[in-house]
């Protein structure tokens, strides 16, 4: 049906609702395949690690896992913004460290109110994004060069801000509570109920409006399956968390940003233009879109989210030191969305991929720590996973190109 025959193929005919279960399965696999693949991967990883060490799937360890992925997940949400326009930001790790240091120094050494110090930290991130975005668009320097220079610069700035001691310990509850607050079972179940109800209402409400307006709508069984899947995931997660310390505030913060950015990218003009710039900057420019403006905003959002992630990481560590934002954080934050289906080539992906990918990477690293593997092995395994993810992306892209033009 690629080459439509004008006499036979009316648009309506092609959009008829699939009736057979097999058709339904095909659509399900096509539409949700990327997410489903990652969820299966997570399940396999969990089972493998649990067979090696039964503590892996204990409530305490899974709660730890969720806490471990919040920083990477938050930074990865921002990274999705620049990946969608086909660019990259190598400075997110250093930016997260610098923003956390600015917050810590203002709060601890200068006695700022914690909320103000947090705002200053995020503003630092936003300013970095603005600078890098302007340099990238004004001078047409490839983004990886601009942000590589940024990586070094902000690492230096981190050392400068921290001063001679090199470490600032956080004790103000306004900051440390972010990563160390847990809500009891009642709150957890209320959260679960509200989340599932809201998801179902939005999904079914949108579906009803589409059907009423007579435009393309996904088949109802598909939506019900999706709602059921979300419900199972949420209920299981809350049950696990409740049997340990409870629902962590950090996880709620991560979910709030994921949902907010998901809405921003899929339901607003800005989000549409983000995808358009990533798909074809020239087409976007000719359509009257301010391509450079979109790019700068994407970089600002990316660095701001890096700052948010850095602040959460500092809150969990109860300190900012010279290695904040260093080691694997950068690579993990970029790899997370790519592992879960966001393309390095721009124009394809989703904010969910940041959360799913961070879970994959977090599970692998948590599991390897639990098994007390040698550092050498951990590095090589992590490297292999990253490479596999990028290869999957490249293969998917070339397959699309092969199928694309008929």
């Amino acid at each position: 049906m690629k080459v439509g025959d004008p006499d036979v193929a009316a648009p309506e005919a092609a959009e008829a609702e699939p009736t057979s279960p097999r058709d339904l399965l095909r659509r399900f696999l096509q539409g949700d395949l990327a997410s489903l693949r990652v969820i299966l991967a997570i399940a396999v990883i969990w089972i493998i690690f649990d067979l090696q060490n039964e503590r892996f799937l204990s409530a305490a360890n899974l709660t730890n896992l969720f806490l471990q992925i919040t920083a990477v997940g938050l930074i990865a949400v921002g990274v999705v913004m620049v990946l969608l326009i086909g660019e990259i930001d190598l400075s997110v790790g250093a930016t997260s460290g610098l923003a956390a240091a600015v917050m810590a120094v203002l709060n601890v050494k200068n006695g700022w109110d914690p909320a103000l110090a947090i705002v200053a930290g995020v503003a630092t991130g936003a300013a970095i994004g603005l600078l890098q975005g302007m340099l990238f668009t004004r001078f047409r320097i490839p983004s990886f060069v601009v942000t590589l220079a940024g990586l070094l610069t902000w690492q230096g700035a981190l050392l400068l801000v921290l001063g001679k001691t090199g470490t600032v310990n956080l004790s103000n509850s306004g900051i440390t509570d972010l990563a160390n607050t847990f809500y009891g079972p009642a709150v957890g179940w209320i959260f679960a109920a509200v989340t599932i109800a809201a998801f179902a209402l939005v999904t079914l409400g949108g579906h009803r409006r589409r059907v009423a307006a007579g435009v393309t709508a996904e088949p109802t069984p598909l939506l019900l399956i999706r709602i059921a899947m979300i419900a199972v995931v949420v209920i299981v997660a809350v049950a696990i968390l409740n049997s340990d310390r409870g629902l962590p505030l950090a996880l709620l913060i991560l979910l709030a940003f994921v949902i907010g950015f998901q809405a921003l990218t899929t339901r607003t003009v800005f989000g549409r233009h983000l995808f358009a710039v990533g798909g074809s900057a020239e087409a976007a420019r000719r359509a009257g879109i301010g391509v450079d403006k979109i790019r700068v905003i994407a970089f600002v959002l990316c660095s701001s989210m890096a700052a948010v992630g850095g602040i959460l990481a500092a809150s969990r560590l109860l300190a900012v030191n010279q290695s904040s934002g260093g080691s694997n954080l950068l690579l993990e934050a970029i790899a997370a969305p790519v592992i879960a289906g966001t393309s390095l080539f721009g124009g394809r992906g989703s904010v969910w991929s940041a959360l799913l990918g961070a879970t994959v990477i977090g599970s692998i690293s948590n599991g390897m720590n639990l098994l007390a593997l040698e550092s050498s092995v951990k590095f090589m395994i992590t490297g292999g996973v990253l490479l596999a993810a990028v290869i999957i992306d490249a293969v998917a892209r070339s397959r699309r190109q092969a199928e694309g033009r008929v």
Partner: protein, 260 residues
């Protein structure tokens, strides 16, 4: 409308690039509900003429009369504002977006009133209008939610043309709309051009393919070395005459080879 009912009249436009006279006093008229083919050899000035009308180039001299009013076309936005839409050969579509998103790119419809900082896309309204438009034009695509990258060349061309119609233009210019298309797809695009004529638009088609030109055009405008080398009514003209005008040879000695 001007005295003879032209929607667009161009009088004596010239454009120089350094010492090169890309256009030298060209006159051209387009009437509503007519397909005017613009043909000429490589370097004859077709692109320059199209870009002058679409506002990418500013001309050195000459005037544009649009619906009886003298106008100046200083930028692509000015041309669009007047009601002159251009579909370029490279189409400028985003392969990663679906048909609806491409049709409305840069002019998305939003829910809710003005004033809110971040406004949501009105996907339902856009999809309905897309259906309406594509149906009027009898454009055949698998679904308005198909990704444009999965469509055939002819379907992509049709989407690009439909997109140009959203701004309710009076004149549509198509640059090589059938280049690199197969037989079936070419037929679809030519049918689409006929439907543009039925909508009473002035259509300018730039083409190298004389078979397509004779199939769809009412008049053929031949450009040679930046000047008008002839204007023919398709109904009483032979291909040899047009080829003769394109190459500059007289009709009886015209080479029999066709333009590729």
């Amino acid at each position: 409308m001007s005295e003879n009912g032209e929607v667009l009249s161009i009088k004596g436009i010239s454009k120089h690039f350094g010492p090169v006279h890309a256009l030298d006093g060209v006159d051209l008229d387009v009437r509503p509900g007519e397909v005017l083919a613009l043909v000429g050899d490589n370097g004859a000035g077709k692109s320059t003429l199209v870009k002058s009308i679409s506002g990418i180039h500013t001309v050195d001299s000459g005037e544009f009369i649009f619906e009886g009013q003298e106008v100046s076309i200083g930028s692509p936005a000015a041309a669009t504002e007047l009601g002159i839409a251009t579909v370029y050969q490279d189409l400028a579509l985003c392969d990663n977006l679906d048909v609806v998103a491409n049709l409305f790119l840069g002019q998305e419809e939003l829910v809710g009133g003005a004033g809110t900082a971040i406004r949501a896309l009105d996907e339902i309204a856009m999809e309905q209008r897309s259906h309406e438009l594509l149906e009027q034009l009898s454009v055949t695509i698998p679904s308005v939610r198909s990704e444009v990258g999965t469509l055939s060349g002819g379907q992509r061309q049709q989407v690009a043309v439909a997109r140009s119609l959203l701004g309710e233009p009076k004149v549509v210019m198509l640059d090589e709309p059938t280049a690199a298309l197969g037989v079936v797809q070419t037929k679809q695009v030519l049918d689409l051009i006929r439907r543009l004529r039925e909508r009473n638009l002035g259509v300018i088609v730039i083409s190298h393919n004389l078979a397509d030109v004779f199939a769809v055009a009412d008049r053929i405008f031949v450009l040679r070395l930046g000047r008008r080398a002839g204007i023919f009514d398709t109904s009483n003209t032979s291909e040899e005459q047009v080829v003769g005008a394109i190459t500059g040879a007289s009709t009886d000695t015209a080479e029999r080879e066709r333009q590729p």
